[in-house]
Symmetry: C2
Subunit: 348 residues, 2 copies
DNA sequence: GTTAGCACTCCACGAGAACGAGTGCTAACA
DNA sequence: TGTTAGCACTCGTTCTCGTGGAGTGCTAAC
């Protein structure tokens, strides 16, 4: 693979090849490019240039006597430098989103769907982790003689319920006391900040009801943990059938399984959220082997991180074929990221 | 298509054909059956019988000079009369389920997963509709100066939250009054029973806060409605790739889309839940065209209705190839149905 | 540096050919 | 009358082979 600077003409040709391949999914030949309006060159000249580009590793031939397709390196160059964002498609999103803005999880589910139908790729959205979010309040209510309902509300109006089984039959007064106890100590704290010392103090003050306090706190912890693991909304997994290069049996099966199980997707999410060196407003593009998931090595993954509050991050992502309409996807992701952040900040 | 009683030998042969086809998915020929231990007959004899069976419509040939495969009518006979239930596979389910029994939706999600992995088919479970369930209580809590949290608990510990936006800044006292008002009038009622008259009375008693009452009740209604539409848990959609006859591009794409969207699945659910003439303990088998969903006309669907309380029904279903292991599926569904009902009735 | 021309490569596609699994029918047998 | 062996026939599957065409690389001329 030779090293050599890309002169402008090579740039234009490479761009044309990629654009064309994005549309058709077929290897593109020299004649096709020579007919490309802007450059008045014969196919022979193009062939020479293409040979150079292949030498440099930007394009490759599936087999002798076929046209060229972009290599991962070629896509990478394209994404990094050639893309000019599309902004038209984006505004429609805003209105469609505002409908469902009353609950965060509803919102995200809706957003994932929108994303998938708008782009014709598969989409995923991870819910933000709530560890650093502040508790708004905790409330215990009697549901049955031996059951308590714990409602936990954290900032951003994220609500979690849990039923506790208790041995004792608590009277209303005790319940009220416990509620006050819990709220005076815990509300306003980030979930991360609740430590063992604090729990001890609480238990002590609760006296004989210390076990209940313990259970409530366990619940808080567990509720949070649950989220981290698996709150990922996906949509449009079947869009991959629209791209022949992804939809042979084996590949399709693996991809869709990955989507259904969601476990694998957390890798994409984590990788992204923890990466602090984010170029381009938090948009990341993984082309082919650049992402770590085996079953997605023929795909491209584009992700954006949204940040609702300090440390309260989630990821929006698109998974599709390598010949993805990167411009559109990046534009849409950027927009969606902003939408979600705006809505959370109370905009409505 | 001739009419004729099925003598015992034809019965055995048909059964052998179906059994064999269930295993292999390949058309089965006369030689294969003649080697079947129990009947000492030459392939020629079998051929004669097979010709009869085809005449009667129980089996068919994909093309001349291929073996025979069961027709829908053949499967139907098999399901109706030949099946002897398997009970071994079933007990494992119980233990696995008990883990997650604290919330109904968690339970069902888990159950769907279990069902899919145990059977190697796709599974779906619809949540029961709560219309006829009694309200345990409603609770309004202040979340912010202009937001109320409504927690609605219905029998079976189904909990729903909703955030209401309110114009006025309510003080604690008013809130308490509203809570008492709501609960004295509504708790103990089935959701179906809340009527306009009652709402009027409530609004009147609430005075200037009538609008809030209205909103709360709307919320109750909406929450219930939401459920009816789309609370269906699915799992194992990708199992269909295990059956070549279902996994060609077009079919697979349509099937998985149907699963992802869930909208179509409600048809299956509704059909089943409203059908009161349920033979065989509420198990229903739809073979091929017997179900109304276009994209599933090459599948069989087996559903079971569980009933937690009077009128509070949901559906468990399996979707797979027509050559489904009906015995196992029916056994597993029956078991799961019982499990779910038991767990709900407080068993733990 | 660009282009026309040409020989070459290799995939895609279709037509046959060979194969084999399975059938229906007939005739013989118990 | 029911069962079986045998045989000709059908038809899908799998190869092979030949052809056409798209696209290339190279060379020589402009």
């Amino acid at each position: 693979m030779r090293q050599m600077p890309l002169d402008e003409r090579k740039m234009v040709i490479l761009q044309s090849i990629i654009r064309n391949y994005l549309e058709t999914g077929e290897p593109v030949g020299s004649r096709t490019i020579s007919k490309y309006a802007d450059l008045e060159l014969s196919s022979a000249t193009i062939r020479n240039e293409m040979a150079d580009l292949e030498d440099m590793g930007y394009i490759l031939q599936p087999h002798t006597s076929a046209g060229r397709i972009p290599s991962d390196k070629g896509y990478r160059l394209y994404v990094d430098s050639m893309m000019t964002e599309k902004n038209r498609e984006v505004d429609e999103l805003r209105e469609m989103l505002l409908d469902k803005a009353d609950k965060m999880d509803q919102l995200l589910k809706q957003a994932a769907k929108l994303l998938a139908t708008n782009t014709n790729y598969a989409s995923m959205i991870s819910a933000p982790n709530y560890r650093r979010n502040k508790l708004k309040f905790i409330q215990l209510t009697k549901v049955d003689h031996d059951q308590l309902l714990a409602v936990i509300v954290v900032e951003g109006n994220v609500i979690k319920n849990h039923i506790l089984n208790v041995a004792d039959n608590l009277d209303q007064e005790t319940l009220l006391k416990l509620n006050i106890l819990l709220n005076t100590h815990l509300s306003g704290l980030a979930i991360d900040e609740i430590n063992l010392g604090m729990i001890q103090v609480l238990k002590q003050q609760a006296g004989s009801f210390g076990t209940i306090i313990g259970e409530v706190i366990d619940t808080v912890a567990e509720v949070i943990k649950d989220d981290e693991d698996l709150e990922i909304y996906t949509s449009g997994a079947t869009n991959i059938f629209k791209y022949p290069e992804l939809s042979d049996h084996h590949r399709a099966s693996e991809l869709i399984t990955a989507f259904e199980e969601k476990r694998l997707l957390t890798e994409l999410v984590n990788e992204n959220e923890n990466d602090s060196t984010q170029p381009q407003m938090g948009i990341q593009v993984y082309i082919g082997n650049e992402n770590r998931i085996e079953s997605m090595k023929d795909c491209s993954v584009v992700t954006a991180t949204y940040e609702l509050d300090e440390g309260m991050r989630g990821t929006i992502g698109i998974i599709g074929p390598k010949r993805m309409d990167y411009e559109k996807v990046v534009a849409v992701l950027k927009s969606l990221k902003t939408q979600i952040e705006d809505i959370y900040r109370g905009g409505k």
